[in-house]
């Protein structure tokens, strides 16, 4: 096979991916916008009829009392998860960047929670958080931190903190790996110089590590945002959005509207498009920080 000029060859090699992206991303995104503007129901799948409804779906979604709940929960879930994933991940990255026997092995073991299917982690935590038979309550009782069992998953006040804790656990390894990579790129000579100047461990972190890690930090936080906003499996398996919608986020709500209730595909699509909008904003911010990190890397 001869493919002529480099340009033609390039497009020929790119063709399968291009077709795939257009068909499986381009079409769904456009279709989702069209769906959000139509009145879609189970019947529509048989009759093919989905009358144009203008912005009715958006009005219905925005007017739903669940909308405020879902937005607030999504925000709390995202901010809570990211803050603790990042600080714990960073602390561990700093700790494991020191040389000591077994460091690499221990660090790679810590990847396991991140590689497991989220449904598996969700199932395990659901069992651990069980009010009567869960090990978390048993442990809290054993060390005297709680007198009675905490209703982690059945009390609306505890459920959101509980799923956030689960998601923090899942996200620590990702933060650890990327930040560890960033730390290794900082030249050791800078630390030696700082030590010669009599800088304490905290001063070395504050004035060498932190500023030099900034581009990587930005990337980790932005990627974390983009991924955490759309977390679905964890919440679905641990609480299913309940109790009393206490853990309902935009993703679980979008799923419920489309698939798990009255098959209001139009409204599900409307919530989905709001999510796309939010994710795109953060996505563009991510791309800016990724470029900054890349430039930093190439210096």
């Amino acid at each position: 096979m001869t493919l002529g000029t480099p340009r033609r060859a390039a497009w020929a090699f790119l063709l399968p991916a291009l077709v795939y992206v257009l068909l499986f991303f381009g079409y769904p995104l456009v279709n989702n916008i069209s769906m959000s503007l139509r009145e879609y129901s189970v019947r529509s799948f048989y009759t093919g009829e989905a009358p144009f409804a203008g912005l009715d779906n958006y009005a219905a979604v925005l007017g739903d009392p669940l909308f405020g709940t879902a937005v607030l929960n999504t925000a709390l879930f995202t901010i809570g998860s990211i803050f603790f994933q990042f600080t714990i991940g960073l602390a561990l990255a700093v700790f494991f960047s020191g040389r000591f026997p077994g460091s690499a092995l221990l660090r790679s073991l810590l990847l396991l929670p991140w590689l497991l299917p989220l449904v598996v982690s969700g199932a395990v935590w659901r069992w651990m958080l069980d009010q009567d038979h869960g090990v978390i309550n048993a442990a809290l009782r054993a060390v005297g931190l709680a007198d009675g069992p905490t209703p982690w998953l059945t009390d609306p006040g505890w459920a959101l903190p509980a799923v956030i804790i689960v998601n923090i656990w899942i996200g620590i390894p990702f933060n650890l790996v990327i930040l560890h990579g960033g730390l290794r790129a900082i030249p050791a000579s800078l630390y030696e110089a700082a030590a010669l100047d009599g800088a304490s461990a905290w001063q070395r972190f504050r004035h060498v590590t932190w500023p030099l890690l900034r581009p990587v930090t930005a990337v980790v936080l932005m990627l974390g945002l983009v991924y955490t906003i759309k977390v679905f499996d964890v919440i679905m398996v641990v609480t299913g959005g309940g109790p009393a919608n206490a853990t309902q986020t935009l993703t679980t709500w979008a799923y419920q509207l489309s698939f798990d209730g009255d098959f209001a595909f139009g409204q599900g699509a409307a919530v989905g498009n709001l999510l796309v909008l939010i994710a795109t904003v953060f996505g563009l911010l991510y791309l800016r920080s990724a470029r900054a990190a890349l430039r930093e890397e190439q210096r």
Binding site: F25, V120, H133, G181, S258, F265, A279
Partner: protein, 269 residues
């Protein structure tokens, strides 16, 4: 802090953070009755494999379904991603930046949006409740990632290598097949492993695109298992252990590929 104190602290961190995994294995080995005692057994002293027996008999088919979907996703992802990565890394043409940008953006589309749209698309083409449908849906997540990881690797293959072959009269296809593919073996393993892992772990597409329950991957199996009121937790957790095997194998056998994948997909552009 001396080196060994650091090791001890590191071990303590690992024990705390991996405790849920120990607990999963521990509970999966205990008789269903002793899981319901007021205070838990910290060790599986009266261990039983009943949970695993029950898991294999009720969830065995789901495990096989996941295996088929994951293997199919790896094949489709690599077939589509390899040539694209070659073009984006090694051939000069306008549009490289735009395409890479598009790949980064589409990775951020939230899952429920994809599921919603693919459901309508697939129902038109009778792809609901089919292996092909699940493989195609899972590939939407793995192909952009695979292209980015493979491209990041292929950027490091010196262009002189393929240009020399071109001078010797090899066509682009020949260069791709005889030079790029063999040299990229490690990156292909990385991209393939992650594609496998993603498809194996996928829950959203599995639960939305298999409404007829003719095909049910293991993630959906676990989900419905828990939803069942009389959830038999030692069997649920035995299933969870079985579903963790690919991740554990990957970590032990292919650890360096894992780190390459995490950083390759996230940072390079």
């Amino acid at each position: 802090m001396t080196r060994y104190l650091r090791t001890a602290f590191g071990v303590a961190v690992v024990i705390v953070l991996l405790f849920p995994l120990y607990w999963m294995v521990n509970a999966s080995l205990q008789p269903a009755g002793s899981l319901l005692k007021p205070s838990p057994d910290w060790l599986p002293v009266n261990g039983t494999l009943d949970g695993y027996r029950s898991a294999l008999s009720t969830q065995g088919g789901h495990l096989l379904a996941s295996l088929a979907v994951a293997a199919g996703t790896v094949v489709v992802s690599l077939i589509v991603a390899m040539p694209a990565a070659y073009a984006l890394a090694q051939l000069r043409f306008r549009g490289v930046q735009a395409f890479v940008f598009a790949l980064l953006i589409v990775q951020m589309v939230p899952g429920p949006v994809m599921a919603n749209s693919l459901y309508t698309l697939f129902s038109e083409f009778s792809l609901i409740d089919s292996y092909a449908g699940l493989v195609l849906a899972d590939s939407t997540a793995t192909i952009p990632f695979a292209i980015l990881v493979l491209r990041a690797f292929m950027l490091s293959i010196p262009r002189e290598l393929s240009e020399a072959a071109r001078v010797d009269g090899a066509g682009y296809w020949r260069v791709f097949r005889s030079i790029i593919v063999p040299v990229s073996r490690n990156a292909m393993v990385t991209a393939g492993l992650f594609s496998f892992l993603f498809a194996w772990a996928d829950f959203l597409f599995a639960v939305t695109l298999t409404t007829g329950r003719a095909i049910e991957p293991i993630t959906v199996g676990i989900y419905r298992f828990i939803g069942n009121q009389s959830a038999d937790w030692n069997a649920v957790l035995a299933t969870a252990v079985l579903a963790s095997i690919p991740a554990a194998v990957l970590l032990v056998i292919a650890q360096r590929y894992v780190v390459a994948g995490v950083t390759g997909g996230a940072l390079k552009d």
